[in-house]
């Protein structure tokens, strides 16, 4: 199998990290933000693995590989937790909105009937 040049993978890892970072700050939807965090993670892992592939011998450096393995598992845990948090957050916001609309619902309905279709 022809050798993989680490340089390309280093650049790709950095690029993925930047793309994830950008989307994390810009995208409004929580699901996209979770994906952006994951993409950032993948970028970092690519960096680690590319750095590990620079060894002079046949075997790549096993320590970064182990770190990436740990990182992948922690990533999926964080994703699961983040999605549960997002669900609860939306439920709480919904409750808040319903309480508000119930409070001034009577007034709003009166106004609404005036401008009724």
């Amino acid at each position: 199998m022809p050798e993989a040049s680490p340089t390309l993978y280093l650049l790709a890892g950095a690029l993925l990290f930047a793309i994830g970072f950008h989307s994390l700050l810009v995208q409004p939807h929580v699901l996209r933000r979770v994906m952006a965090l994951n993409v950032m993670g993948v970028g970092v892992f690519l960096l680690f693995a590319a750095l590990a592939a620079r060894t002079r011998g046949e075997t790549p450096d096993p320590v970064p590989h182990a770190m990436v393995l740990t990182g992948i598992v922690v990533s999926v845990c964080a994703t699961g937790l983040a999605l549960a948090l997002a669900h609860r957050l939306e439920a709480a916001e919904e409750e808040e909105r319903e309480d508000e609309s119930a409070g001034d619902g009577r007034q709003a309905r009166a106004e609404h009937e005036e401008t009724d279709r």
């Binding site: 022809p2 993925l16 699901l31 994906m35 690519l46 693995a49 790549p60 999926v76 939306e90």
Partner: protein, 92 residues
């Protein structure tokens, strides 16, 4: 010559899929593109001789994370439909 070319193609695809997953229109398509990106990243691990990571990435990084995202997406859509039904019923 063929090695760097394959790497370049692979990484271009990965970056493209990542960009589209995060900045595309449809959320469902985005999640699917994310899963596809994950699988290509597993190939990247093989290219970097990180076979243990490749196994874990394909199953956990791409597969399970994608399943979690799809499940969350489904829950959000269902909640939106329920909310819409409730407000329509209230005004009806």
């Amino acid at each position: 010559m063929i090695g760097p070319l394959v790497d370049l193609l692979l990484l271009l695809l990965i970056v493209l899929l990542a960009w589209r997953a995060l900045n595309g229109r449809d959320l469902l398509r985005g999640v699917i593109e994310f899963i596809a990106m994950g699988l290509l990243v597993a190939v990247a691990w093989v290219r970097l001789r990180a076979l243990d990571i490749a196994l874990a990435e394909a199953a956990v990084g791409s597969g399970l994370t994608g399943a979690l995202l799809l499940s969350a997406l489904h829950r959000m859509r269902r909640r939106e439909v329920r909310r819409r039904d409730r407000t329509d019923g209230g005004e009806g």
